[in-house]
Symmetry: C2
Subunit: 220 residues, 2 copies
């Protein structure tokens, strides 16, 4: 379902190229649960942004569900992303002026879902991550781990085929982190959702079927 | 050096009071290294914000270096905070339009330190956390763990007597996290800096002299 061929990414700063990813080859079949590990700065978030159609590689090809995505228009990429991918960002990116109930309903609004159904499903998803009493809080009225869980709820609400989770338990105690891993495992088992988790935590990585290591922008 | 007596904190939302901290009693002598652990939402960041003079408790007293801080003016609190406390925030709070070299020099500028010395010391501190080649990057040109390390460098640069670190290794792989713990241990041993670390990671907590557990806003 996901295939990267010779993906490379570099930035240019002060005229010098900074290589971040080099010749990444990677493929996953539907329903796989993969962990990506690597030291700080090794390229994990950059890889996730390319997988999530939020960034373009400098070279190489990316096939999502058999479709080469770099040749699509920006609108087609955005539509494909909304339908197929749920992204839990390392920095959460919740909208500060909306309550988390509104934040979590947003992906369904973009699909034209009616307000009542969207709100109901957002409420259910927030309950699943343990945030039921806090649905009317804005992000700055929540703890770090509560914000992270709201970001997870938002990523899951559209029933995506692929979940990209960038350090989804980084701000969580081990008990709450396990709640999230159980939720991912359930989606993986029942609905064959493909899950890619970036993590620094070996206990989280061990719960995946495969672990991929990234070192200096290459798959080790 | 730090004493909290009967500290309580609540918020009011939609007319209802939400109790976050209740009757916290806590004291530390200079040079202690303490870990604070507790589930997501238990009140750790709220406690740290009160300790860091960034927030006022709803009731109770806080003595820092023998001085009761709630009775000081806002200017006096700000001055005391700049002199005494180095805070590593859970959400980093780096200024987005400055390079990390500029971000880390900022506390020294506020003290009237000259630009050359401030820049030199910022460069040294950034080298200590492994960010030497990246000093001219802005925060959005860095990985999550690199931003966290820049925030740590900024907290340490003013030689504070008290370091408050809210999940300082949350975005770091274990090797880089240990680099940071070694740095804290060195400050603790050589300069008697008092260190309070909020963490979800038992391996980090075990490296402290004492572990305090918070549950539902109370010390367990
Ligand atoms: N402005 C606010 N208004 C209402 N409730 C708030 C506000 N800020 C925080 N809270 C609530 O206070 C509680 C404690 O928050 P705090 O950030 O101290 O938790 P924490 O222990 O740091 O959690 P984490 O481990 O997830 O970072 C949470 O339940 C949160 O929802
Ligand atoms: N806009 C940019 N310009 C220049 N360099 C960048 C930019 N964005 C990221 N980088 C660099 O790319 C490298 C990889 O960053 P990335 O965010 O992918 O790391 P990561 O593996 O997710 O790290 P972490 O575990 O700390 O989150 C880093 O060294 C970073 O400094
Ligand atoms: Mg990252
Ligand atoms: Mg917190």
């Amino acid at each position: 379902i996901v295939e990267l061929r010779q993906i490379s990414k570099h930035y240019v700063m002060a005229g010098n190229p900074i290589k971040v990813l080099e010749n990444i080859n990677f493929h996953l079949v539907a329903g796989e649960r993969v962990a990506i590990m690597g030291t700080s700065g090794s390229g994990k978030t950059t890889l996730m942004n390319i997988l999530g159609l939020l960034d373009h590689p400098s070279s190489g090809q990316y096939f999502l569900n058999g479709q080469e995505v770099n040749s699509l228009t920006e609108d087609e990429r955005a539509a494909l992303r909304n339908r197929t991918i749920g992204f839990v960002f390392q920095a959460f990116f919740l909208l500060p002026r909306l309550t988390i109930l509104q934040n979590v309903s947003l992906p369904l609004h973009y699909r034209g879902c009616d307000k009542i159904t969207a709100t109901e499903r957002a409420q259910q998803m927030l309950a699943k991550v343990g945030l039921a009493p806090l649905i009317h809080h804005k992000p700055n009225q929540l703890s770090g781990g509560q914000q992270q869980r709201a970001a997870i709820a938002r990523a899951l609400i559209g029933n995506p085929a692929v979940i990209l989770a960038d350090e989804p338990t980084g701000a969580l105690d081990s008990q709450t982190g396990q709640l999230i891993m159980d939720l991912f495992a359930e989606l993986n088992a029942k609905e064959k959702v493909t899950i890619i988790i970036v993590t620094h935590d070996p206990k989280i990585a061990e719960q995946c079927q495969r672990i991929v290591h990234i070192r200096d922008g290459k798959i080790a």
